[in-house]
């Protein structure tokens, strides 16, 4: 079957916007296409007249450090993120989440921007960006501005971006500093052609003794229609000494505040509820240990 009639590879943001304008709603942005093409093929989306491939735009493939910040173009592939030492060391959860997406072929073409734009409540890369408190630069209706990442999401599969008009340009977030670290784990079989049953990314900052949680950001998904921070769990951890008591407090807060749902062919709410415990027991001690030692080696990455 025909999935599209025209395929464009613009070299600049302006050219991409102009192409989108000229198709007047009949073209869609493609940034890897590992979700988009499945949706078209399976009939969930009608084939668009044209696909505008943004992965050849220099600005969208940019990846650089700016002081304590990392700037990451929306067209950067999962493979490139996983193989970037700086991200592995100072935004470890992003490597751990991008490293379990799909298989090597999917990671070679799938981009972080595509993952975010798809706006699923369990997108692996998205989960980590939320824990990293990332910001996203977008061009909405012709206007360029930065948004906190969480403000992009409107509903399952829906973001502020109109894929026939708007562009996601890049992300930025602060790299981990002293006493800070991140970790990501997920529950599913060790293959990634499907969505995870549950994912969890944590960013922690310990106090200078290295004994207490000073600040925590936690994203567990899917537990809602959009990716969310587990704020009640974060609050339960802040000020607590690192250790199993803190984890149990976090679990208790999670059960009070998070209510995952049953998906018909992925998992029941009951299983997900129990897996929240497992994930918190695995992710929090790992992140805390990394923050204490200042050493972080990504785990579970399927790149080898």
């Amino acid at each position: 079957m025909t999935l599209w009639n025209y395929y464009h590879t613009p070299a600049s943001v302006d050219e991409a916007l102009e192409l989108l304008r000229s198709y007047a709603g009949k073209a869609r942005v493609i940034a890897g296409g590992t979700d988009l093409l499945l949706d078209i093929r399976q009939g969930h989306l009608p084939p668009p007249e044209a696909l505008i491939d943004i992965t050849r735009i220099g600005e969208l493939c940019d990846l650089h450090q700016d002081g304590d910040w990392l700037v990451l173009g929306a067209g950067v592939t999962h493979t490139r993120i996983v193989s970037t030492d700086l991200i592995a060391a100072r935004a470890t959860c992003l490597v751990e989440s991008c490293g379990v997406v799909g298989g090597p072929q999917v990671r070679n073409v799938g981009t972080l921007g595509g993952n975010v734009a798809h706006a699923l409540p369990a997108g692996d890369g998205t989960t980590s960006l939320v824990a990293l408190d990332a910001e996203a630069e977008v061009i909405l209706d012709g206007e360029r501005r930065w948004y906190p990442i969480r403000e992009l999401f409107v509903g399952p599969g829906m973001s502020l971006l109109d894929p026939t008009r708007d562009l996601l340009i890049r992300f930025r977030f602060k790299l981990s500093g002293p006493y800070e670290a991140t970790a990501f784990k997920r529950i599913m079989r060790p293959q990634g052609v499907a969505l995870p049953i549950l994912g969890c990314a944590a960013w922690v900052r310990l106090d200078e003794s290295g004994e207490y949680y000073a600040d925590v950001r936690l994203c567990i998904g899917p537990v809602d229609r959009v990716p969310v921070r587990a704020e009640a769990v974060e609050a339960a951890l802040c000020g607590q000494p690192v250790g199993s008591d803190a984890v149990e407090r976090a679990i208790q807060a999670a059960h009070e505040g998070l209510h995952p749902r049953t998906s018909r062919y992925r998992a029941t709410a009951e299983y997900r509820d129990e897996m929240i415990d497992v994930l918190l027991r695995r992710v929090l001690p790992l992140a805390a240990e990394r923050a204490q030692t200042g050493q972080a080696v990504p785990e579970g990455v399927g790149i080898e």
């Binding site: 529950i187 079989r189 293959q191 052609v193 018909r264 062919y265 897996m275």
Partner: protein, 741 residues
């Protein structure tokens, strides 16, 4: 003579390797013909309904549409491999009684033929179908109850088949048993998930025959089914298979064959169709889900004295090969053991679910899941080693099966068990019998390792009195020396490498190098009937036919005939059907024997089961091509791993909720065990060509019960329902207080 010995047992490179690896080999979907049209199917929109009217006017008016076909256009509107119980197209006007009813989502209602695939796809949605819904029955036990909706007039209470087996005196046998174990075993659907979804071309060939180019398992059966539905003599129908992208039993029944032939016959132009993955998953049958209740008893010394089982299988809306699949399950549910008292009842039940039929192992895996689960539980109850218990009870030369007859000569269950156990690394033979070696545990207490084993047997070839034969023709060309040898053999190479083995066997039988052998394969215009590529039968059956034809041709060659041409039909010893009341029979003429040893690691917190290592031992009689045998072992083990742990087709009220490979998960490289060790044993089958036995289904059959035994060894919990999804494992463990918060 030396040449012969060199060729049998040599892993010659597959004839099809280069073409398939480079992508040059055409599969049905890759082939185009000039002036071809495209077809799309309108599958049933309902699970169970009467089609009261079909209005195709909007589709017919769509620019580029050439024709719309419905039930009224099908000359003889019925088909089915074991009985013609399914309409080719459901709807009014065909004259076939009951053909106006759709009984499941696999039913087809209309065909649109158009100038392009896009036009056909757009127009097929424009057919207006009026349905009158009928009550849905999607549970086998509800379907068997009085008052349930009846799907077919020939099956009261929706019972398509009920086999009985009465051997010895079960009622008094329980008194001899010191231990009795009971279990209820449940198995799920399985999708074949072959690489190549259904596709093909229908056209009229140079001699005016309605021709279908398609991927199947038996060209002559396809021809018979197409000819029947079209009301044509078989000579006017031709079936050709180009390369076949996997089958596993999923191509035994019709998919696109009849509809392509119908459209080609009516329009006299080439017609092409390619099913999408979703259409493939909805449009062909699955492995039978079963519920098996079993009760076995043994003496303190470990003699199994009684086995009782009742098996219920969901046939879905139509029979497909249910009667034959359940024939096998009925025999295998009491295992490869000499048990003096056996009682089995096996039921196949129509429901409005997706139909079920042939799939690698053909009822054997479900039977083995119950039988081997019972043996493993008996071992536990007797505090006996599971290998030791089996060694005491396996069928031997001359011992009687539950059906009252012995296995054919060459019974090697005891040898396969012993050599497999010894080579597994998990067991050792001691003066006190077989002993399990301890397994090393991971440091993380949430991860527990365990080891389990199971064994099995499976017929090679058609069973229970079904006519069984294979034709081959061998032509020897040349003058003083043989220049080339041509073999006509229809046996389908579905990807397993049958063609390479045929060529090896021809070369061995005529004493020429394989480069001089030319194979004319699956095309009804040039080959005799081979029977199906199923039941692990093609090496055995085609091998015997090729050997027979080659020997006759060589005789003619010696008598100076040029070319020397001989045709031979191999017919194995006949088998008999189950006695309707007692089930006594001489069911099969050949068997394969196997034993498997599995190491797993269970995450007690998440319920994930990882299969770490599998040792799979097989008596293959004679390994014609050892590398291909290893390929079958590894492929079979991984397919069975998916069946046991991952593959979870979810249905609700007859609808399939996950008809995609993104939601119906099959193993990927990450799920493959770190080692699959093939133990290939060669105890010749006196009836096999060069002693060969069939083997392709064998690595599938005992894996699931070996895995559940390993999981129990790791966790202490028996889980008698597959697939072992993480959620199901967690639930079972928590019920026993393991890994609980």
């Amino acid at each position: 003579m030396e040449q012969k010995n060199l060729l049998i047992g040599q892993s010659v490179r597959r004839m099809d390797a280069v073409g398939k690896v480079t992508g040059e080999t055409p599969y049905p979907g890759d082939i185009d013909l000039p002036d071809q049209l495209w077809m799309k199917v309108r599958f049933s929109d309902r699970v169970h309904a009467r089609v009261t009217a079909i209005d195709a006017s909007r589709a017919e008016a769509y620019p580029g549409v050439v024709a719309v076909f419905t039930a009224k256009d099908v000359p003889v509107n019925e088909y089915g491999l074991s009985m013609p119980d399914q309409p080719v197209l459901c709807g009014p006007g065909s004259g076939k009684e009951g053909a106006d009813i759709v009984r499941c989502v696999s039913d087809q209602v209309a065909l649109v033929v158009a100038e392009t695939e896009e036009i056909a796809a757009a127009a097929v949605k424009l057919i207006d179908i009026t349905y009158e819904d009928l009550p849905i029955v999607s549970d086998i036990f509800e379907a068997m109850a009085d008052g349930a909706p009846q799907l077919h007039a020939h099956a009261p209470n929706n019972i398509l088949i009920h086999y009985k087996l009465r051997h010895g005196d079960i009622d008094s046998a329980w008194d001899q048993a010191d231990v009795i174990v009971e279990g209820e075993y449940r198995t799920g659907y399985q999708e074949h998930a072959y690489l190549q979804p259904e596709a093909g071309l229908g056209y009229i060939d140079d001699e005016g025959r309605v021709t279908v180019l398609v991927a199947g398992q038996w060209v002559h059966e396809d021809r018979e089914q197409v000819a029947h539905a079209l009301g044509l003599p078989e000579e006017q129908v031709r079936i050709i298979y180009p390369a076949i992208g996997g089958a596993f039993g999923g191509r035994e029944d019709m998919s696109v064959q009849i509809t392509l032939a119908l459209a080609a016959m009516k329009l006299r132009r080439p017609i092409k169709i390619i099913w999408s993955r979703e259409e493939s998953m909805i449009g062909h049958h699955k492995r039978h889900p079963m519920v098996i209740r079993a009760r076995w008893g043994a003496t303190r010394e470990g003699r199994v004295v009684a086995a009782e089982a009742t098996a219920y299988a969901d046939a879905g809306g139509y029979a497909y090969t249910t009667t034959k699949v359940l024939g096998n399950a009925h025999l295998m549910v009491s295992g490869p053991y000499e048990i003096p008292n056996v009682r089995v009842d096996t039921y196949g039940v129509y429901t409005n679910n997706i139909p079920t039929g042939a799939f690698r192992g053909f009822g054997g895996p479900q039977g083995a899941f119950a039988a081997e689960g019972q043996m493993n539980k008996l071992a536990e109850a007797l505090n006996m080693d599971p290998v030791e218990l089996r060694a005491l009870n396996v069928l031997r030369e001359g011992s009687l099966m539950s059906v009252g007859s012995p296995l054919p000569p060459g019974v090697t269950l005891d040898k396969v068990l012993a050599e497999g156990a010894a080579q597994s690394g998990y067991w050792q033979s001691t003066e006190d019998g077989w002993k399990r070696l301890p397994v090393e545990q991971p440091a993380n207490p949430a991860r527990r390792r365990g080891v389990g084993m199971a064994m099995g047997f499976k017929n090679v070839g058609f069973s229970f009195g079904a006519p069984e034969q294979n034709w081959a023709t061998v032509e020897i060309h040349g003058g003083a020396e043989i220049e080339r040898v041509v073999v006509h053999e229809a046996g389908a190479d579905v990807g397993q490498g049958a063609h390479t083995v045929f060529v090896q066997m021809v070369a061995a039988a005529t004493g020429v190098p394989i480069e001089k052998v030319e194979l004319i394969g699956h095309d009804t215009a040039y080959t005799g009937n081979s029977g199906s590529t199923s039941a692990s039968r093609m090496t055995f059956m085609a091998g015997n036919a090729i050997k027979g034809a080659a020997e006759l041709a060589m005789e003619k060659w010696q008598h100076e005939e040029r070319p020397a041409i001989a045709t031979y039909q191999y017919r194995p010893p006949r088998t008999t059907a189950y006695d309707p009341e007692t089930g006594q029979a001489d069911p099969n003429f050949a068997y394969g024997y196997m034993a498997q040893f599995v190491e797993v690691e269970v995450d007690l917190e998440t319920g994930q089961v990882e299969v770490v290592r599998v040792v799979s031992a097989h008596d293959v009689g004679r390994a014609i091509n050892p590398t291909q045998i290893e390929g079958q072992v590894e492929g079979g083990v991984i397919q069975a791993l998916g069946y046991a742990i991952m593959e979870d087709l979810i249905t609700q009220d007859g609808r399939v909720l996950n008809p995609y490979l993104s939601t119906y998960l099959i193993p990927t490289i990450w799920d493959v065990p770190r080692e699959v060790k093939s133990v290939i044993l060669e105890y010749a089958d006196p009836r096999g060509p060069w002693g060969a036995r069939g083997m392709a289904e064998m690595p599938f059959i005992p894996l699931a019960p070996a895995i559940t035994a390993a999981v129990c060894d790791a966790t202490g919990v028996w889980i008698d329902r597959i697939p072992l999804t993480p959620e199901r494992v967690v639930l079972s463990l928590r019920e026993q207080g393991i890994g609980a918060i």
